[in-house]
Amino acid sequence: MTRRRREWLTAYLYLAPGLALTAVFVYWPLVASTTLSFYDWNLVSPTWSAVGWQNYRELIGNRAFWLALVNTGKAAVAFTALTVMVPLFLAVAVLRVSGRWRDVYRALLFSPTVISMAIACAVWLWMFHPLYGVINSLLRVVGIQGPAWLSSGDSAIWAIIIVTVWKTFGFNFVLYVAGLLAIPAEMYEAARVDGASERQLFRYITIPLLAPTTLFVLLTTFILSPQNLFVPTQILTQGGPNEASNNLGYLVYQLGFEYFRVGYASAAATLIFLLFLGLTALQFYLAESRIHYGR
C-alpha cells in the first residue's frame, strides 16, 4: 500500500466511530424526519395519509413561519453583536488584569453558563416583571416607562434574546480566553521590541491568530441560535403574544409537540436545516479562505 493510501485509510479509521455514531443518531433521524414531512401523521394514530408537498406549502403560507424567520434573523444579528464581539473584548480585558482579580472576573463572567436554562428563565421572569421587576424599576429611575416585556408583541422577542445572550455569553467568552492564552507570549514580546503599539499588537497579532477561534464562535453562534432560543421561548412566552416571539427553534416544537402534527413539524425542520446549511456553508467558505492557519 502506498504511503498516501495508508494515510487515507488511517484517516478513515479515525473518522469511523464518529461518522458511524453520527449516522445512527443524527442522519438517520433526519432522513426519517424528511420522509415523514410528506405525510400527515402524529406518530400514533393508526391512520395516516401521504400529502406530498402539502406540508411545505402550508408552512410557506403560515404567518407564524414568517414571524419565526424574522425573529430568528433579529436574534442572529443580536447574537453576532453581543455574544460574538463583546465576549472577545471582555476576554482581552480580563487577560489584561493580573492575579486574583483575573480569576474572579473570569469566574463571574462565566457563571451564568453554569445554571440550567430553565432556572435562568425562572429568574429572568422575575426580573422582567413589568410591575416590580428589576429592569423596569431601573428604567423608572431614569424616567422610562418599561414595556410589559413578555406580554407585549414588540418586546417579547427581545426579552427572549436578552435571556439567551446573558446565558450563552460565557460559552464564547471561555473559548476566546482559551484562544488568547494559546497565542505565544514571544510574539508579543518580539513585536514590542520592534516598537509596536498596543493597538498594532491587537490588530496584527491578536486578531489574526485568534481568527480560527473567531470563525468558530461566529459560525456556531449562528448555527445554534434556533436551539438556544428554544427554552426561553418555551418557558417565558410560548411563542406569544400572538406569535410575536415565535422563532424557528420554537416553531418546530410547536408544530410537533403542541399540535402533534409531526409531518408538518418535520417539514419545518427540514426547511430550517437546509436554510442553515446553505447560509453556513456560504459564510464558511467566504471566511475560511481568509484565515491563515498554523498548518
Binding site: N42, L43, V44, S45, P46, L125, W126, F128, H129, P130, L131, Y132, A148, L150, S151, S152, G153, L236, T237, Q238, G240, P241, N242, E243, Q254, F257, E258, Y259, F260, R261
Partner: protein, 421 residues
C-alpha cells in the same frame, strides 16, 4: 492515559448494567399524573399505599410528569409511538377530545354493565365530562373550578368593605375603578395561561357556548363572547384596571400585593395561602354577568386507560374505581384542592367536612360546583391548533390594537375551518 481508559471502562461497565427484570407476579401498572410534591404528590403516594394493601396482586408505578397536562400529553404521545404507554394517565379536559380521537385507548362503556354501582355514585353532569361523541372515553377525576381570590387589605385601603367583594362584573368594574383610584394598584387579573379556560368561563357566564351543539362552529364570535371579551379588553386598555401579564407574572403580582383580585383555579388555593406576602387571601366565586346565572368551565382531568394487555387493563380499572371511591376521593381532594367528584363527600364529617372547614377558600369552589359547565375540547385532528388560535385571539384582544369583534370573528373563521365536517 491509562488512567483515563480504566476510568472509562469502569464507567461504561456501570452504564450498561442491565435493567432489573420484572417479577412475573404481581401485575405492575404505570400511572401517570401531574401531582408534584406540593400539589397532591404525597396524596398519590398515600393512595398507592392504601390501594396496594387492598389489592395485593397489583402494584402501581406512579410517575410524575412535568409540564402539567400538556407536558404529560407530549410524553404520552412519544410513549405511544414506542408502544410503551402507561396503563392509566390523567388527561386534561381540554385535551380529552384529541386524545380520544387520536390516541389508541380503551373505551369504557363496557364497564357500565359490569360495574353499575360505581357509576351510580357519580353525578351525571360530572360523568358527562368524559363522554365525547357518544362514548365514554375517560372517567372524570380532577374537578376544579375557577374562583376569584382577593386581597382584603387592598379593599380596605380603597375604602371598600373586604367582606363584600363584587358578585357581578358590573360591581367589579365599579369597585375596580375605586381600587385603582384610591390605591394606584391594579384591581384584577384574569389568568392568561397557555389555554382558554377563563375565556370559556367568560363565554359560558355570559350565556354563550364555546362550541355549538353540533360541534361545527366555535362560539367565540357569538354576541355573548364578543361582549365578554370586549369587556376584558376595556378593563385592560381603557380603564386600565386589569393587568395584562403572563400567568406566572400575574399570580406573583397578586401574591406580592400589586393586584387586588385574581381569577384562577381553586387548585392554587394552598399555594396562595402559603405564599401571600403580608395578607390573608380570601376567595369567592367568579363574578356573574348581571342577572345571568353563574357558569364556569370545569378544570381538571379524566383518567384514560391506554393499556393494551387485558391483565393490565383490569388492574387499571380497579385502580380507577379506587381513586373515585369515597376513601380515594377524600385523600385526593385533601391533597390537591380539586373538588371530589361526589359532592356529598364535602359535607360528610367522615370524609371531607373537616378539610373544607380548615380551608375556607374551598367554599368558593363548592358554591361554584353546581354551575360547572364542561371545559370544551375541540374535536378532530386539528383540535389542538384550534385552541392555539383562540389563545392567540385573546392575546391580540388584550393588546388592544383592534376592537374585540373583528379579531374574534377572524379567529372563529379560522377555527371553524379546522373543525371536522
Amino acid at each position: 492515559m491509562t488512567i483515563w481508559l480504566v476510568l472509562l471502562a469502569l464507567l461504561t461497565a456501570v452504564s450498561v448494567a442491565p435493567p432489573a427484570t420484572e417479577a412475573a407476579d404481581p401485575v405492575t401498572i404505570e400511572y401517570w399524573h401531574i401531582n408534584s410534591p406540593t400539589f397532591g404528590g404525597p396524596a398519590v403516594k398515600e393512595l398507592v399505599q392504601v390501594f396496594e394493601a387492598k389489592h395485593p396482586g397489583i402494584k402501581i408505578a406512579e410517575k410524575f410528569q412535568p409540564g402539567v397536562y400538556t407536558g404529560l400529553m407530549q410524553q404520552l404521545q412519544v410513549s405511544l409511538a414506542a408502544k410503551r404507554p402507561p396503563a392509566v394517565a390523567q388527561i386534561g379536559y381540554n385535551l380529552t377530545a384529541y386524545a380520544a380521537g387520536q390516541f389508541p385507548h380503551v373505551l369504557l362503556d363496557k364497564y357500565r354493565q359490569s360495574d353499575p354501582a360505581f357509576f351510580k355514585g357519580i353525578p351525571d353532569n360530572i360523568m358527562a365530562l368524559g363522554n365525547l361523541s357518544g362514548g365514554l372515553h375517560g372517567i372524570p377525576f380532577g374537578v376544579s373550578t375557577p374562583v376569584m381570590y382577593y386581597n382584603p387589605d387592598l379593599f380596605q385601603a380603597a375604602g371598600l368593605n373586604p367582606d363584600q367583594p363584587p358578585q357581578t362584573w358590573a360591581e367589579l368594574l365599579k369597585m375596580g375603578q375605586t381600587i385603582k383610584d384610591k390605591t394606584g394598584k391594579f384591581a384584577v387579573y384574569l389568568q392568561q395561561p397557555n389555554d382558554e379556560w377563563i375565556d370559556q368561563t367568560l363565554i359560558w357566564g355570559n350565556g354563550g357556548r364555546p362550541l355549538s351543539e353540533d360541534g361545527k362552529r366555535v362560539g367565540w364570535d357569538s354576541p355573548q363572547a364578543i361582549e365578554a371579551m370586549q369587556m376584558w379588553q376595556d378593563m385592560v386598555t381603557k380603564t386600565k384596571i386589569a393587568a395584562n401579564l403572563t400567568w406566572e407574572e400575574g399570580l406573583q403580582a397578586f401574591l406580592s400585593g400589586h393586584i387586588a383580585m385574581c381569577l384562577t383555579t381553586i387548585g392554587r388555593q394552598d399555594h396562595m395561602r402559603k405564599n401571600a406576602s403580608g395578607f390573608h387571601v380570601r376567595a369567592v366565586p367568579v363574578p356573574r354577568f348581571g342577572s345571568k346565572p353563574l357558569a364556569t368551565a370545569t378544570g381538571g382531568n379524566v383518567l384514560m386507560i391506554f393499556a393494551t394487555d387485558p391483565t393490565q387493563e383490569k388492574a387499571a380499572w380497579e385502580w380507577i374505581k379506587f381513586l373515585l371511591s369515597p376513601e380515594g376521593a377524600t385523600i385526593w381532594t385533601r391533597g390537591t384542592g380539586y373538588l371530589p367528584p361526589r359532592a356529598e363527600l364535602a359535607t360528610d364529617p367522615k370524609y371531607l367536612k373537616p378539610f373544607f372547614d380548615e380551608a375556607p377558600m374551598m367554599r368558593a369552589a363548592l358554591q361554584t360546583f353546581p354551575y360547572a359547565k364542561p371545559w370544551v375540547s375541540f374535536p378532530g385532528a386539528r383540535g389542538l391548533e384550534i385552541t392555539k388560535i383562540l389563545i392567540k385571539a385573546r392575546e391580540e384582544v388584550l393588546e388592544g390594537k383592534r376592537p374585540a369583534e373583528p379579531i374574534l370573528k377572524e379567529a372563529s373563521q379560522q377555527a371553524n375551518a379546522l373543525l371536522p365536517r
